[in-house]
Structures are given as C-alpha cells and as structure tokens.
C-alpha cells in the first residue's frame, strides 16, 4: 500500500526548510543599506526609458551624498494613486511621490501631501516654467521637471511629407491616403487613425471648436457648442470623409500606424520613442487649426512632478527636498529632454540650443502652447466617467451630438454630487 511518495515527501520537507529560512531572512526592511544610511523612497509610474534615466540620476545623487540611499519603486498609474492613498492614510508610504498633476487634487483633499511654498524659496521657483508648478487652493503641492503628456499629430513622413495645418488639409491628406490596396472592398490604409473612442483623445476637437471640459469655477461645461461640433466632426471623419477606421482603440491605431497602414496618428509624447524605435520616419506636428473657428486644437497639458508625503519625518524631509532640487536641476532636465524628448520646465533648459532647435521638441512646444493645463480637481475623474457613455453612444449612432452634450453634463453633475456627499 505504501506508494512511492518518498521523493515527494523529501521535496516537501526541503521546501519547508526553505520556507522557514526564507521568512526569517526577509525581515520587514529588506535591501539593507547599512545601518547609518537615510532611506528615501520615490514612487513613480515612469515607463522604462524614463526609469533608466531616473536611476542614473539617482546614482549620481547618491555618489554626491553617501549618507543617503534613494530607492525608486515603479507602480502602474492607477496602482500608484490608490496605493499611495492607502499607504499614506495608514501613516506610511514613500517620502516622494512622482506623477502627473491630476493626482494632486485627491491627495490634497485627503490631506496626504505637504504644501511646498514654504519649503522652496521664491527665487528657486522662479527658475521654472509656472506651468510646471501646481498650485491648488492657494498652496503649491507639486513641482514638476517635465511638462507635457499632451497629444500631438504624429505623421509618417513617407506617406505624409507635409503635415496638415487646418482641418480641411487634414481631410484632404486623409482622403488621398485612404485606399483599398488589396481590392477586398474595405480600406487597408487610412489617412488617420487614433484612439478616438476615449474621451481624453477627443479633447483636441472639443477645444478646436471652442469648448472645454470645465469652467473657471471647476464646474463641468460639457454641454457646449464645442462638444457638439467636435462630436460631429469626429463622426464626419469616420462616416463622411471616411479617413479613420470604423473601430479603433489605442492598440489598433498604434498597430496601423506602426505597420504603415495609417499616415497619421494622434498620440502623446510618451509614444514618440516607440515609433522611432520601430524604425518609422516620423514627424511631430501641432494638431491642426479648425478653420471654422480659427482655433488651434488644444490638448490637456500636464506636468509630471514631485510631491511630498505628509507622513515624512523632519530628518528625511531635508534630504527629500535636496533630492528634488537635484532632480530639477538644469543638467538633469537637459539629459531627460535629450533622451526622451520631454519638455523641461527649467527656463534655462527651455531656451537651450537643443530644446529650441530639435524638430520634435520645437513642434511639441508649439502644441503645449496651444494647450490648456489639465485640471487637478478630484472631480476630473467624474467628468471623464460622465463623458464616456454618451460619447460612445454618439459614435454608435444611438444618440445625437446635441443629446450627448446634455447627457454628459447631467451625468457629470450627478457624479460630482455623489462624490462630494
């Protein structure tokens, strides 16, 4: 009756020993840096190429200050926000959190980040583009070293030698390019492809036709001419001019563009490196101007910066501030701009040769100037959530654009009320 479970039992015993030993060897504070060092942690959501530069810069900082050890931890964007909230409320969390400016709103309301205007003196702050300093309710909560996160028109130079400057040109180029190459009755190449089912990617046309998501007081303003005309424009691109695919999400648009089956794509500054690495000869251009309104399509511009955890100890605070000053310094911003094509916030670097002359950065700057800062109020999430259903209904043809404007507004107001009860 005894079966050959000898080897299995021994394996299990070995694993048991390993388990016990391991749990003893991995105490709560791992990554021992020696007893004396002060440990600063930064949480961020940077993709890999940005991370590598950050690591390099952190290594330089640690070489300059051997008594400090800086650790960086990547967290995916949503995890960063919710993870930081949970950790900070429990009295823990990293010393520095680095991310886009829209996390400032919820963090401030929950009282988990520190005001910074008493920490950084005015002369230092004046060195930076004011768009990189995020003020909310009268206090400074985030200082950013990168400005952007903005959508631009990215075009394949082989297919589109000269980018369009107006919406009419956009349509014309699109029509020229959209073609059924293999004769199966469906287009294989499109003039333009982009993630148009997502509200964030609709903002350019909303602004181009004169609208914006909220008014000066932070209340939603979704029921506007800008929304309605913008919606109609997108529908026209799909149904009348037929220059965009019938169904496109982020990955499909990305794929079409990478395969050379789309002449243009609307995508953000995070995507340029990927296209360059894919071997495409891309150009970056500002989004076109809408002839009917004379307005340039604007996008949301968001700085990415540093905030301090409210739980930070005074000793660590001193070093965290030192670290922020270091990472915001001229040479480090220049390094990032050169390798990543991100727009720096340091005024000196913004005027420097590379940033002024590089083709991509030049066009990026123009688009940033056409854009508007991303709101930092927590209600922004409610607005995104409210836009989505009506927007997609219009795309599906089950709602008119005018109806959609009203629906979005009503739903946004309701969601905001629910959030703040």
């Amino acid at each position: 009756m005894k079966r050959g479970r000898g080897p299995l039992s021994s394996a299990l015993y070995l694993l048991a020993l390993l388990g016990v030993a391991g749990c003893a060897l991995f105490p709560a504070s791992c990554g021992n840096a020696g007893p004396e060092k002060i440990r600063i942690t930064i949480w961020h959501q940077d993709r890999i190429d940005v991370r590598l530069i950050l690591e390099r810069q952190l290594a330089r900082f640690m070489a300059l200050h051997p008594e400090v050890r800086v650790e960086q931890l990547f967290k995916e964007t949503e995890q960063l926000r919710s993870g930081f909230i949970i950790a900070a409320i429990a009295g823990q969390g990293p010393e520095i959190v680095y991310g886009p400016s829209d996390q400032v709103g919820p963090f401030e309301v929950m009282n988990i980040i520190l005001p910074l205007e008493s920490i950084f003196e005015k002369e230092w702050l004046d060195r930076y583009d004011p768009r990189g300093l995020t003020w909310y309710k009268g206090h400074l909560y985030q200082v950013a070293d990168k400005l952007g996160n903005h959508l631009t028109l990215v075009y394949n130079k082989k297919l589109v030698p000269v980018p369009p400057a107006t919406d009419a040109e956009l349509v014309a180029i699109g029509k020229r390019l959209t073609a059924d190459l293999n004769g199966d009755g469906r287009p294989d190449r499109y003039g333009l492809a982009w993630n148009y089912t997502e509200p964030f990617f609709f903002i350019p046309f909303m602004t181009g036709f004169g609208g914006w998501i909220m008014d000066d007081r932070g209340a939603p303003s979704l029921d506007s001419r800008g929304t309605v005309d913008g919606l109609k424009f997108v529908i026209a691109l799909r149904d009348t001019h037929r220059i965009i695919p019938n169904e496109a999400d982020y990955e499909i648009a990305d794929l079409l563009f990478k395969d050379g089956n789309a002449g243009m794509i609307i995508n953000g500054d995070w995507s340029w490196a990927g296209y360059l690495n894919a071997g495409l000869d891309i150009g970056v251009a500002p989004l076109p101007r809408i002839a009917a309104t004379g307005t340039w399509c604007g996008t949301m511009v968001s700085p990415k910066g540093f905030s301090l955890n409210v739980n930070i100890t005074p000793e660590k605070k001193r070093w965290a501030v030192e670290l922020i000053r270091f990472l915001m310094a001229e040479e480090n911003q220049l390094e990032a701009a050169q390798e990543l094509y991100t727009m720096p916030t340091h005024r000196g670097v913004q005027q420097s040769g590379f940033v002024r002359d590089n083709e991509i950065l030049r066009n990026s700057r123009i688009q940033i100037d056409h854009g508007r800062p991303m709101p930092v109020v927590p209600e922004l999430r409610a607005i995104w959530d409210a836009m989505r259903p009506a927007y997609q209904s219009v795309l599906a043809g089950t709602m008119t654009a005018e109806q959609a404007g009203r629906e979005m507004q009503a739903l946004a107001l309701r969601r905001i009320r629910e959030m703040n009860e």
């Binding site: 919710s82 929950m110 009282n111 409610a382 629910e418």
Partner: protein, 302 residues
C-alpha cells in the same frame, strides 16, 4: 467510547482544524468588520479620515440611486454572466475529463498540457489578446468567420449584446481547464469495478454516466461549482479588460464593477463597502440554498 478516548479525539480534531482557521480568521475577520463599519459610514473623498457612522444611508443609495447603467439591469447581467459561465465551465470540463480519461487515448499528457494552457497563461495579456481577436476589422474571429464561413463579421465590441457575449466567451475559454482538472481528479475516486459490474449487466453509456459517474463525482465537483459560482460572480478582471472598462457606453458591467468604480474612481468608500455587503448577502443566500440542496456538508457514503 471512553472519556479519555473522546478527549483524545477532540484534541486530534482541534489540531487538524485550528491552524488553518487561525490563519483564515486572522486574515479575514478584521477586513470584514472594517467593511461592515465603513458601509454604515460616510467615508469618501471629503471624509477620508473624519468619517462617522451615519446609519443605513449608503445601503439606501445602493438600491435607489439612479445609476448609470441601471442597478437592476446590471444585477440581471451579473446573474446571467455567472450561470452561463459556470454551466459551460462544468459541462465542457467534465466532458473533456471523461473523454481524456478513457484508457484507449494515447498521448494523454500532450492533450492535458495543451488543455490546461488557458488556466496557466497570465490573464492580462490573454484577455487583451481576446479583445484584439474580437475587433471588427482585424480580429481573428471575424477574419475566420469571413474567410471560412463566408459570413459578415460581427460587431463584437460595439454592440452591448455582442460585447456581453464576447466577455462570456473569453471567460468560458479561461475557465474550463479548472473544472476539467477537478473532474479528472473526481473521476479517480470512482471504483473501476462499479463500471465493470454495469458492463456485465449490459448498461448503456448513458446509464453508466447518470447512475455511476455523475453521482459519484458530485462530492468533489460540488465545492468547485459552488466556489466557481462565487468567484465568477465577482470576477471583474475579464469583463473590464475585454470590454475596455465597460464599452460600449458603459453597458458591459457586473455588479462588482460598481464597487471598483466607487472605490477607485470616485473614492466613495462608504458606498463601495455597502454594495460589497449587498453582494456578499446575495452570495450568502445562494450558497446556503445550494449547500442545503446538495447536502454538501455531509458524507456521501454514509
């Protein structure tokens, strides 16, 4: 039994049961009661630290607040989602286990390895791959429908009903290996001579299936089905990923999507906790009824 024997038996039982339950309750009790308390509070964005108990307001909101999409519609969808999924998981799983268990089949290991793959691959990328396969223009499913069957493609992700079907199809694909493995295990517990006796009596395969196989794999399958139902009811991951957070137009949602949105998007922790308690109550009622009907807490040979 003498008293000392009884005592020894009690100690034995205690030693067997205690470690597992200590861990379980230690881990679960605090979060559970925390949630009960929060569900009676006004914890949200504005009251994240200074929340206070306000009674059953959150529960009232759960049932009466006009929501987008409508609460009862989503509840119904969740029920359909759960039952369709579990049904196909079990039927396909048991079916494949029966087929695979036959002694004439060669290369069992290869089939087993391939058929367990949907369970083994990381869910995120496979869910996104399925989403890609459902694309109207470029997706593999429509391409196959067009090229092999001459049909026009289905608008999988743009129409609510089709999108719902798409997420169900994906989840059925993901879930049948689990039931298949359970069924394979369950089949081992059936003594061969029962089948041999039935064969001698000239029983048909259907008769053997219904009088021997199905009843005898029940004790092992019932826990899997119960827990499978509970898990499927709350399985947000697949629906979220394949429908890209609820497309089209927020129609593709489960009840638990509301919990996720409330907690992660709107910071309405009180509301989320109350809804979680409601979901919990629904599942509790289901389990109690199911357990009583299948007598799963008892012993099959007794």
């Amino acid at each position: 039994m003498r008293d000392s024997q009884k005592l020894r038996q009690r100690l034995f039982v205690f030693a067997l049961v205690a470690p597992a339950f200590v861990i379980l309750f230690g881990v679960v009790i605090y979060p559970f009661f925390y949630n009960v308390v929060i569900s009676l509070s006004n914890m949200n964005l504005r009251h994240i630290r200074d929340w206070r108990i306000i009674g059953f307001d959150q529960y009232v909101k759960v049932f009466t607040e006009p929501s987008q999409p409508a609460f009862y519609g989503v509840f119904l969808k969740t029920l359909i989602w759960t039952f369709v999924n579990v049904f196909f998981h079990v039927v396909i799983g048991v079916f494949l286990a029966l087929v695979l268990n036959q002694k004439e089949i060669r290369g069992k290991w290869l089939f087993r390895a391939i058929l367990v793959l949907p369970w083994a691959v990381p869910q995120l990328i496979v869910a996104l791959t399925w989403r890609g396969m459902f694309n109207y223009e470029y997706g593999a499913i429509n391409q196959i429908l067009r090229q092999w069957f001459g049909l026009q493609g289905v608008q999988w992700l743009k129409q609510p009903l089709e999108a719902f079907m798409a997420v169900i199809i994906t989840n059925v694909w993901l879930g049948f290996p689990f039931m298949m493995v359970i069924a394979l295990g369950a089949l081992q517990s059936i003594p061969r001579d029962l089948y041999e006796a039935a064969d001698i009596d000239g029983a048909s395969w259907l008769h053997k299936l219904t009088t021997i196989t199905i009843p005898l794999i029940r004790p092992v399958m019932v826990p899997a089905i119960t827990l499978g139902t509970i898990w499927t009811f709350n399985n947000l991951n697949i629906v979220w990923l394949v429908s890209n957070s609820g497309e089209p137009s927020d129609q593709t949602h489960l009840l638990v999507s509301f919990v996720y949105k409330a907690a992660f998007n709107f910071y309405r922790y009180g509301y989320g906790a109350a809804l979680s308690m409601v979901i919990f109550a629904i599942l509790l009622v289901f389990s109690l009824t199911f357990m009583r009907k299948s007598k799963a807490t008892e012993n099959v040979y007794s």
